[in-house]
Symmetry: C2
Subunit: 447 residues, 2 copies
Amino acid sequence: MQKITSEKRATQNETVLWQHSHDESYHHPVSPDVVVYPISSDEISSILKFANENKIPVVPYGAGSSLEGHCIPVKGGITLNFQEMTEVLEIRPDDFLVKVQPGVTRTQLNLALKKFGLFFPVDPGADATIGGMAATNASGTTSVKYGIMRDQVRNLQVVLADGQIIQTGGMAAKSSAGYHLTSMFVGSEGTLGIFTEITLKVYGIPEAVLAARCTFPSVQTAVEAASAVLGSGTGIARMELVDERSIVQVNHNSDTAYTEAPTLFLEFQGNPASVTYEASLTKELLESFGGLEWVEEHDSKARAKLWEARHHLAYAFKHGYPGKSMMFTDVCLPLSELSGAIVHARETMDEVGVPGAVLGHVGDGNFHAILMYDGSILEEREKADLVNARIVDYALQKGGTCTGEHGVGIGKAKYLAKEHADTLPIMLAIKKQLDPNDILNPGKIIL
Amino acid sequence: MQKITSEKRATQNETVLWQHSHDESYHHPVSPDVVVYPISSDEISSILKFANENKIPVVPYGAGSSLEGHCIPVKGGITLNFQEMTEVLEIRPDDFLVKVQPGVTRTQLNLALKKFGLFFPVDPGADATIGGMAATNASGTTSVKYGIMRDQVRNLQVVLADGQIIQTGGMAAKSSAGYHLTSMFVGSEGTLGIFTEITLKVYGIPEAVLAARCTFPSVQTAVEAASAVLGSGTGIARMELVDERSIVQVNHNSDTAYTEAPTLFLEFQGNPASVTYEASLTKELLESFGGLEWVEEHDSKARAKLWEARHHLAYAFKHGYPGKSMMFTDVCLPLSELSGAIVHARETMDEVGVPGAVLGHVGDGNFHAILMYDGSILEEREKADLVNARIVDYALQKGGTCTGEHGVGIGKAKYLAKEHADTLPIMLAIKKQLDPNDILNPGKIIL
């Protein structure tokens, strides 16, 4: 390996190997045999050629914020850490495009875009890398307005298993030129190729932003109200549900004193006239569905605090249950099935006896149950697994998906086989075609 | 064949075969051997099993409005006409979803949705079938706001070459569950499978709509102004450029008396406050870029007339040049390259001596040159081909695509090989995997 890269950028130091043995998920850590910090697509091409000839697994590693074990090298081999590939390569403000290396993080990208009056909207909470976000088709709080990662990726430079470097797309806003491989590579979780350059759509920073929160007597009324907002055609930019017990946890772990009731967190973005109009329309609508306490946050600090509380919810639970592991469910359902699914999830957690949060990107029909359990006690882990399985089964029965945004990784592979039993052979055929030696992130997506 | 379908729904009548020998494109007609009017996915499954065993080509046929020869059975065989599969199967207003059979047309769908306060926005001009629109990844005038077909298709029921019936997606608004096959099938032009059910995202009918047109001293200033509008973040719903000679043709063929200058046709959709705000902001912006004559159309009849003029431009040229053939170019470029490309196109047409229109979906960077030529004179056809090739070369050099929305079909296959030389082998491998006997719309996309 040191013949291909430089000696400094390939290491077998035990501490470094251990650092790359896990991500933010609950999955069992496995160390790679070597960690490499590549600096170019040509170098990655050489590494893959070598790995492919010698049938050595290669696992890409961004910020390590995966919640499904994507970065865990379950079969050992080479971990490619992208911390030396963090350049914003090109900003084309007139084309609303940016080209980045995979190690660029979301906040780093937004810092670079800011001086052009532009921003990148996808916000999964964690400060993930763009490479990781593209690989898992991440989304988060803003997708109700801006869409998911797959909607933003215009082109990928990909190094294939045999070392070949390809471009999957182009810079045009739309194309009907053949099978849409860009969409296939986005969300392929490092199993079809390694992304080395990513061209993304960006957006003008909105003139006006207004955040608000509104409490409800129950989760059902909150979800019904959220559906009505979507139906009204109001251009909502974020709409998040946090349940009562999660608000308790937030207040407990930060300096907030939010009313402890099921709450919708909302944001409006646009021009001043439309933002004001939309907020007042939404307030009225939410109140007609039982909305109790509507609080607007106009200044940017108060807004930041509100979204911080929402984003740090997982950490609030982590701190509230020291030493415990967290399992995230990630189902997404048709909107009309969401409130039933959330109620079912909370009831299942209570029935099985697993504490945790329920929170959701209700604008998309996506919600997470954060399940807290003691990883050292088998029975607790089995309980969490049971809750996860029941939540997924419910979602699949209602036309939903086992993963809205976290990806399949390790934990959802058994559910993918249920959800897409009839297309799994096609996925497998594509995988075999592109990676016949199964060196690219083996043990993920397809079991 | 008559064993599989009923006698009535399979025909070798010469007139019917001739009707299915061509579409709206300039490509050479070829008749199928038999035309079948299937009524179900099970029946199509039986037909494909039979065709696959006997290596007989199968070509799907919707409204026949393709501009790239998609419906032409270049190798004969069976044409599947979907005129008996025109049911709107399910409308789920609370989920903003509709499930249709492939033969449903765009206007038929919108009629069915209207009573729920919903509409389907993708508008390619022609009253195409939803099956055809999904197969070619169509878009049109509204994609600057709503996106293209690929953005709307949530799930496809597909019959594969061997007769197997699969579901590619689900009903959730987003999913990270494995390789995104729905996106791969959308735009596959009948070469990977036959769509038998299509689940689409739909939208609430906007409260307020305002159309406007604005003339400019030149095409360049019009495109620069359009780019500025996009940069302003104004939520424009349509923004179309029609050049001076096209306006002359429109006035000549309809009862309009539009000022004969390069013109932007615009539309705003939303709530009354934002529509008014956006229109006034846009007017100001366009005027600062040299916009001359701004005319708003508030009532729905005047609006319809304005868009009719735009949509009927191709027919205006057809009537203006009786007996001549039309070739459509369809390049799409990064926005900053659009004005140069349009000027280059017009200059090339003048230089080579091919009359016609230049019009564009400027919000997407997509434009068409409509090239008029006498199909019976080889030299005229060669001239049109030359103009097309030069326009495509220019676009590819600037990071654009050879087809923004019409698809590859027959006419763009040679350009696809240039645009995606490095991914064409992957496309071919997928095609061979899914259709090893090359029975599905052979001779399209990949040469």
